[in-house]
Amino acid sequence: MTIDSVRGAPDTPGLAEPELVQLLTPEGERVEHPDYPLDLSAEDVRGLYRDLVITRKLDLEAVALTRQGELGLWASLLGQEAAQIGSARALGEHDMVFPTYREHGVAWCRGVDPLRLLGMFRGVNHGGWDPAEHRFHLYTIVIGSQTLHATGYAMGIQRDGVLGTPSAGATIAYFGDGATSQGDVHESFVFASVFNAPIVFFCQNNQWAISEPLERQSRIPLFKRAQGYGFPGIRVDGNDVFACLAVTRRALENARTGQGPTLVEAFTYRMGAHTTTDDPTRYRLKAEEEAWKLKDPIERVKAYLVRGDLADAAFFEAVDDEAKATAKDLRERCLVLPDPGPLTIFENVYAEDHPLMTEEQERFAAYLASFEEEAS
């Protein structure tokens, strides 16, 4: 007997692909959803388009920098721009973001200098920005760990007694489909649920955890897991920036007003490799990628802008030029990022003096100095 470990029986109730919230079709047609009205001005839409284009350009530039040996690695967000820009543009100034290592579009929206994102991939630091500055936490590499930090932070917001006031913030935890199998994600759902923490769990289901398809992580649609924890789950078209914005906005507002957590599953696709060292041709078909290309998150916004006569050729050209200039600037600044000095290894391990750090640093400094003496 062969064991069908891939899918449940196809006729099992509830296993058919569910509806997702969509406000902009792949063809660029605006559709309404009764639960998610969204009123965007032409300027708003142009702003989203600009975010999407610049984010994609910066990402491609980082891939190129990796190919040229300037970065050791890069995790591309290609294909996931709408999920990131839509959710991030729903954030308010008091909200706090806990990203994975792929949230370059969210970082862009939070005002983080893209150069900061390159540090860890170039190997000059392990992160290196102050999370408080843009309310954007450090990239977390171990899968799912940050969902607990986000939940704890949300429990802190509760204890500050600000929920329901204008200075209320929520947290948003980003993670992928693979992460949903991690124990930490499960535990974060449990903690968030029983404490009713003000948090949005934003899962970008990009269908692939490196080489493993979604079927290896779950037998049911991911958003349905929320029900088991006792909070709402919703699937949104992750390539639809409008829908991602509207759904995340609602979930954040619920969190800020004390209504607890929401799981948002942004149904999207990782168009590129997992990272620059990955080779998707070994595990997935070109046809699948081609099918998803037709759902491109940027093209549909462009079609909407053109169709509605909300932007002219000069606008699109200006955005392209700005994207190119931003990427060029990023490249130039990346190339001159200084390597850290060897003695910085001992810095920032502890907040207060630590004799072992001092001892080893001094000894290593003397060792290094001995070569200089020999040379002179």
Binding site: P131, T140, S145, G152, Q158, R159, D160, V190
Partner: protein
């Protein structure tokens, strides 16, 4: 002066810390109404409320992971891990997140989280309730690791650990929870958190210990004195950082050293001590640094744990052997 058990001294220290700083939180399994399985948090939820003394879901990684998030929001969580052998589900959050976030942020972040772990054997418990996992954590840069041995230190050290801007792993010798001593709860004139203490001066051999082994070593020293052998006992108190100067000052005088801990000797904390002492006191040593500890096995069933744990006779045997060189 008040007579307190070690457990009550912990409780009193926690209470003081919570009174002094509204950001101090206590969290863990059964720490609320029950007051913890060892009653270390007894009465705290009643007096400080459920928002500050949090009965958490039964998930150690979740406890430490959310404590990190609370610390990022400006709180000072004191986490209770119910038993030593239960810390491993949280090891990932402690080692890969708690210990490293400061460096990751280039110093922008501090995580003032205390992880309390009742440790050690000798209470007749089932598996996973008698372990000494300190070396896993002393091996991890970014953590401070301390171990109290008596009520006076328990009272002060928990408050000092909570005040530390760095994460602290705080080991409590569970079989000494009921030991009593006079504690001055009015004074804050405390030994620095990371200083070792000479708890019995001596001339012929230095015995190093921490946590539950300190008392056993003091008993061994008293027995040795009857044979005319003067044993100096040092309570290390802090394992990372290590107060090496207090140790070497003693060994330079005595020329002999025995390290005692309950954890397995192989790759245990004593190995680090032996190496460092050998480096620094090489020409003063009359004998190799000897180690007495648990065997290189899993912790045994409780009916034979007395054979496994370093006792007075095994310590004296090692002391004798240092004179055989």
């Amino acid at each position: 002066m008040t007579t307190l058990t070690l457990g009550k001294a912990m409780n009193t220290g926690l209470r003081k810390a919570m009174e002094n700083d509204p950001k101090v939180l206590v969290m863990g399994e059964d720490v609320g109404k029950l007051g913890g399985v060892f009653r270390i948090t007894d009465g705290l939820q009643k007096d400080f409320g459920e928002e500050r003394v949090i009965d958490t879901p039964l998930a150690e990684s979740g406890i430490v992971g959310t404590a990190i998030g609370l610390a990022l929001r400006g709180y000072r969580p004191v986490v209770e891990i119910q038993f030593d052998g239960f810390v491993f589900p949280a090891a990932d959050q402690i080692i890969t997140q708690l210990a490293k976030m400061r460096m990751r942020s280039l110093g922008a972040l501090s995580l003032p989280v205390v992880v309390r772990i009742p440790c050690g054997g000798g209470i007749g418990a089932v598996e996973h309730h008698s372990e000494s996992p300190e070396a896993y954590f002393t091996h991890t840069a970014g953590l401070r690791v301390v171990s109290c041995s008596n009520p006076v230190d328990a009272y002060s050290m928990i408050q000092q650990a909570i005040a530390s801007p760095d994460p602290v792993i705080f080991f409590e010798p569970k079989r000494r929870y009921w030991d009593k001593a006079e504690v001055d709860t009015e004074s804050t004139d405390w030994t620095p958190l990371h200083a070792a203490k000479v708890v019995r001066p001596g001339e012929h051999v230095t015995v190093l210990a921490y946590g539950p082994s300190v008392k056993t070593c003091l008993e061994a020293a008293a027995a040795a004195a009857e044979d005319g052998r003067s044993v100096e006992v040092i309570d290390l108190r802090s394992l990372n950082p290590l107060d090496i100067d207090t140790v070497t000052a003693s060994v330079d005088r005595t020329g002999r050293c025995v390290v005692v801990h309950e954890a397995p000797v192989f790759n245990g904390y004593g190995a680090e001590l032996a190496a460092r002492i050998t480096e620094r006191c090489f020409y003063r040593l009359e004998a190799p640094v000897l180690r007495v500890g648990g065997f290189s096995t899993p912790y045994p069933p409780s009916r034979v744990e007395e054979q496994y744990l370093p006792d007075l006779d095994r310590i004296l045997d090692a002391v004798d052997r240092t004179f055989a060189w």
